[in-house]
Amino acid sequence: MKAHLTRRYMFSASHRLHSDEMSEDENRATYGKCNNPYGHGHNYMVEVTVSGAVDGQTGMVCDLIDLDGFVRTQILDRYDHQNLNLRSEFVNQVPTTENLCIAIYEIVKRGFKKAHLERIRIEETMLNSFEYKGENGR
């Protein structure tokens, strides 16, 4: 039987929501206090869900050590205690949590080959969360 395995990870980062394509007034109207020029930060919680048949030998969908190692080096080392706006993927894109979700999905999809990536879900605060399941996801 196929199983979905989800692991939660945390990182802290700062960002500022601001689009160069909008005027100052439009930016303030669109992003509110998230447009504060000095930026602000969050404790992000990222859930990575992978799936696959449960291996008969190990009882596992994939080795958690492999998943943890990949997420640590490719996601947490990249974003933890960083200013998201300064990362290359957000130079031309607003680092909303929607876009962060897509960026993390693309990194995991491209680099992690030990199980099928189902979903990335990010909680930006206790009150909001975002999910991305790829271009064809439901």
Binding site: M1, K2, A3, H4, L5, T6, R7, R8, Y9, T49, V54, Q57, T58, G59, M60, V61, D63, L64, I65
Partner: protein, 139 residues
């Protein structure tokens, strides 16, 4: 269609070991989970059933019956047990969270008559959980 989820908790011990592996392979694959004396977790189980809302009762399923089935089929068998030694499924399969979720699905699915089992989710810790949707479950 309405989905209804009921939670339950159980505590159990286990260890990971495949007799087909050498001691070195077991240690490499399972790490500290290979300690033969076992270790334990507080598991959280979420059982999600689906169905139409009954117009007379307003229920998808009688929660008391669902709770009884979960208690009888899962909690009575798993809670405060050494899974490898006391639960029949794990005499022959490794009690990973994946296999726990599958075993719970297989125990519950035939017993839930009024509503259809949709998902079994098992949390081993707050940061690690497994979902199964059955053999015909969603991709």
């Amino acid at each position: 269609m309405v989905y209804l989820t009921r939670k339950a908790e159980f505590s159990a011990s286990h260890f990971y070991h495949n007799p087909a592996f050498t001691p070195e392979e077991n240690q490499r694959v399972f790490g500290k989970c290979n300690n033969p004396n076992g270790h334990g977790h507080n598991y959280t189980l979420e059982v999600t059933v689906k169905g139409a809302v009954d117009p007379k009762s307003g229920f998808v399923v009688d929660l008391k019956r669902l709770k009884d089935v979960m208690s009888r089929e899962v909690l009575d068998a798993f809670d405060h047990r050494f899974l490898n030694k006391e639960v029949p499924e794990f005499l022959t399969t490794i009690p990973t969270t994946e296999n726990l979720a599958i075993a719970i699905w297989q125990r519950l699915a035939p017993k839930l008559k009024a509503a259809q089992l949709h998902r079994v989710r098992v949390y081993e810790t707050p940061d690690l959980f497994v979902d199964v949707y059955g053999e015909d479950g969603e991709a």
